[in-house]
Symmetry: C2
Subunit: 212 residues, 2 copies
């Protein structure tokens, strides 16, 4: 595996490859040609071959790709077999939506706890996960370290919450607050932002292409 050579554009496409390969695998497909995979993903076969060659490329001329093997390889590169753990800060609507509906385990993560300041939420488990008070964050993470902290807190406490997570030694922050976090002050923590507004504005552009 030559991971160090994978460009960030390819990395951004890898989760999508994983989704498609996982669907194929679950549907019982054993092998697939680059052109068939390309068609189902709306890419070109040469793009697929180029992307997959970045990490060894298991395609064989006249055979195509072994779906299970390629799926496993992509999962490995994405770090889905590292036993990553995760805590969620903020058990409001969005936090709850993730806790109750997001398939963390299928993505290689184990959700260990949620934190909130609302006394009505603290103490009552959600989706099998304890909801603790934010005051307990440092003690909890001292006992039970987490790879990732998910930020679904209100924007006004986003930066402070991120700093507390960084001080507790998380490796990554999954940021839903729509605030830009000061990465230089977060001691090497990797930040991945989910900006709903950026996505909606892209759609807005697409449906506004005709002049007024």
């Amino acid at each position: 595996m030559r991971k160090e050579k994978i460009s960030s554009a390819v990395i951004r496409r890898l989760p999508r490859y994983y989704r498609h390969l996982d669907d194929l695998y679950r549907g019982g497909t054993v092998r697939i040609s680059s052109s068939a995979l390309a068609k189902s993903m709306g890419l070109t076969a040469s793009q697929i071959r180029q992307d997959l060659s970045c990490f060894g490329g298991f395609g064989q001329q006249g055979y195509g790709y072994n779906v299970e093997r390629l799926r496993g390889e992509v999962a490995e590169i994405l770090g889905m077999n590292r036993n990553h753990t995760l805590v969620i800060l903020g058990a409001g609507n969005l936090g709850r939506a993730l806790i109750e509906n997001f398939p963390f385990a299928a993505n290689g993560f184990r959700l260990v706890a949620a934190f909130d300041v609302n006394p009505e939420l603290v103490g009552a488990p959600l989706g099998g996960v304890p909801v603790l008070h934010m005051d307990e964050l440092e003690d909890f993470l001292a006992d039970c370290s987490a790879s990732v902290g998910v930020l679904t807190v209100p924007a006004r406490v986003a930066v402070e919450s991120a700093q507390r997570l960084a001080a507790c030694g998380v490796a990554g922050i999954w940021n839903f607050t729509n605030m830009e976090l000061p990465e230089s002050e977060l001691s090497g923590v990797r930040v991945e932002n989910v900006h709903f507004a950026d996505s909606l504005l892209t759609l807005s552009y697409m449906i506004s292409e005709e002049p007024v």
Copy 2:
């Protein structure tokens, strides 16, 4: 404005430009140099100049960009002044998070109604918006057309819900269901996907770069 020449990569960056320019505008900044804007956005000045030149580029040598004017121009290109309207299908946790917390108006959209099948949710307005039964979708949209339908329904009804929205004539679908929609069957409707899993797996990759 030479919109037709804007590449999709630039389009994807425009919402982020808008966010930064809006922050600057609200903070009272009148003008900014490409290098200062670049620094605040983690890009290079030449990247900024190249991106902004795609749509007329209002920078002046020795002056920089007029923040209010550039913000307005980016908003215009993104279609933020088109009086877009929007309905939400699915008023569960995620739908509710959007209805109650997402700043639709600040992004140029007016949320007109939400739809669900749960009798406990139907009838009780959320965030000032009526929650109607899914059975009423077609009648409602016949009277009051919407530019965009937001899909926050369970995955198993995602495709069927998208087809109903397309039949009602929406221009775009903002898809949170993690299902790939059959765009070829959606009669020209533009689809923008928010794939939480793709984002988490990208973070997973970033925190897994060291070999096991």
